[in-house]
Symmetry: C2
Subunit: 350 residues, 2 copies
Amino acid sequence: MKYEAITIKDIAKALGLSTSTVSRALRGSYEISAETRKLVLEYAEKLNYRPNPIALSLKEKRSRSIGIVVCEIANNFFSQVINGIESVAYKKGYYVIISQSHESFEREVANTQYLASRSVDGLLVSLSTETTDLSHLGKLHEKGLPIVYFDRIPEEMPSHKVIANNFNGAYQATEHLIRSGFKRIAHLTISPHLSITKERLAGYKAALADHHLAFDESIVKYCKYGGLVEEETEEAVVGLLSLPKKPDAIVAASDKLSTGCLATLARKKIRVPEEMGIVGFTNSLVTDIFHPSLTSIRQPAFEMGQVAMEMLIQLIESKHPVSKFETRVLNTELTVRSSSVKAGQAAGKC
Amino acid sequence: MKYEAITIKDIAKALGLSTSTVSRALRGSYEISAETRKLVLEYAEKLNYRPNPIALSLKEKRSRSIGIVVCEIANNFFSQVINGIESVAYKKGYYVIISQSHESFEREVANTQYLASRSVDGLLVSLSTETTDLSHLGKLHEKGLPIVYFDRIPEEMPSHKVIANNFNGAYQATEHLIRSGFKRIAHLTISPHLSITKERLAGYKAALADHHLAFDESIVKYCKYGGLVEEETEEAVVGLLSLPKKPDAIVAASDKLSTGCLATLARKKIRVPEEMGIVGFTNSLVTDIFHPSLTSIRQPAFEMGQVAMEMLIQLIESKHPVSKFETRVLNTELTVRSSSVKAGQAAGKC
DNA sequence: ATTTATTGTGTGATCGAAAATAGTACTAAT
DNA sequence: ATTAGTACTATTTTCGATCACACAATAAAT
């Protein structure tokens, strides 16, 4: 059972022309007579002819499609990034193939290989939490496949990159909690080797230092799968709660960690923000209707997707091999809601 | 700048063999001597040879990949369905290409055309709200492309289909509100011609009828884009609130409608459930931490994806054209939380 | 009348892999 | 000695589209 499309041969045979004449007529080549062109175009239109992209890919070694590799699409941040990518791709006539690694290194490798061999013209990649070995991407880069990294980037790879200002985001979050009167602020974050983890941790530390609070490694909790596994978040939060010197606030470094944290605290009947303040990195659209509403650091996800796609197109369409690479840093945005402001305490004041 | 992979020709040249010998050796054909086979396999292994899927697709008119067409991936329900699809596809060695229509008929047509011409072996489709003309799908079906529809299905198209028991879901939701003491229950739903809208509306009506409540068309609000456009939901809810005979509860028919409804009520300072009860169709994982926590009808999204993919594989791998089609109906699940239960009122009793 | 442009169209190679077909070389059977 | 059979390997075609090149027909220039 297979779908059979109309080919250039069918048209050629039907009109008694050669395939190359038909091809040229369809592409509007100047060397074809107006009559023949009209004949071919009308017939092609009637039969709803579409050139076979597979054959074109094979011939031209390009496909006008690009591949996306992310850990999960069931995630506000990534699905918004993808929408940004698509908005630019659609305008420029590129098709987008989305694949998920589910935070598995093996799946990430399989996906990048598949996409590359499928003649995508370029890749947009955000690393899985498991990824430390980058050779699968290094090899593709060496072979000249354009790659732009976003969000979770490999520091040492020479390529265009787009990230949020994670340092600033975490700094803002932490400082906001300090100014709201919290004294012992924990950090709930992802796998320690990810770029975003390091950047956010650095911002968190800097804010503590600038406000003369001691950094305490014991209240930094790393969730290997960034909240993808629910129990992991619960365990981390419970771990914080059972410390002898309990924290009074948490900076959560991702969407799932923020919601997982809120949910765990609710189950444990910890009142937020009275007993525990929270600021979360999240791109959820429903932070308003959380209980309590969640003070959040929002990343410019849609914009990140747009910028990444624009950079990728620039690489793809560049006539010369590009060797000067750029890292774009986009600003985050703090929105104060109830989860970080105790009653009677005005936020923002010192 | 293009990625160059190793081909069968490179191997043939390097080893002084013909391409067909290499091809057969790689495929383990019996007619190749053990020595030659070993030589080729080892060399191919060393160079990390991978057959070019584009060339294979062109030759064999199949690609071991399938296409998904949904309106939006930034949606709990659909991203969970996709995960279900992927879980089966991965096991069976199929690749998955995801595309979004963003509720636009035009994009849906473009996506299906593109996927078909890219030699996907089959399609998994959930219609956009704009779609009424089905000829793009009809043509592909006639040409023998296997298609399985899920969730938003075209009733008249002969094909396998998977849906949730939308009638029952809406019936349960409505009946639960009635039993919780609500007297005038509105219905907030999607575009009227979608299958899910009709099924849910029928369930809603049936529950009203069975409990001797009158059906009132004026408190059924249709949101053309199903909540994709925020203002639309707000407008619908405000419309309900400004009626002379205001409803005291709402059954919301989708994820975005449920959260949009909660958010609008919060902004308007309407207390839920005291002034307005809500039950929402949603697959959100964070219904617990909504304020108030949201009584929900959950659809078996992951399972729906699995079933759809299994059905599609069955169509693809069938030796004979399939003409007997099946519609699988999966059960929904009602979880009672605070948004539908007034203080002092036990839910579930009559 | 012959040569030279110009214009329009056909032939065949190409992309990568697979397979139908065609050899070749050798052994075994008659 | 001739033929049949076996065990390999090579040649060529195929998939759909494009393009370099070849060539034919006509018109214009000599």
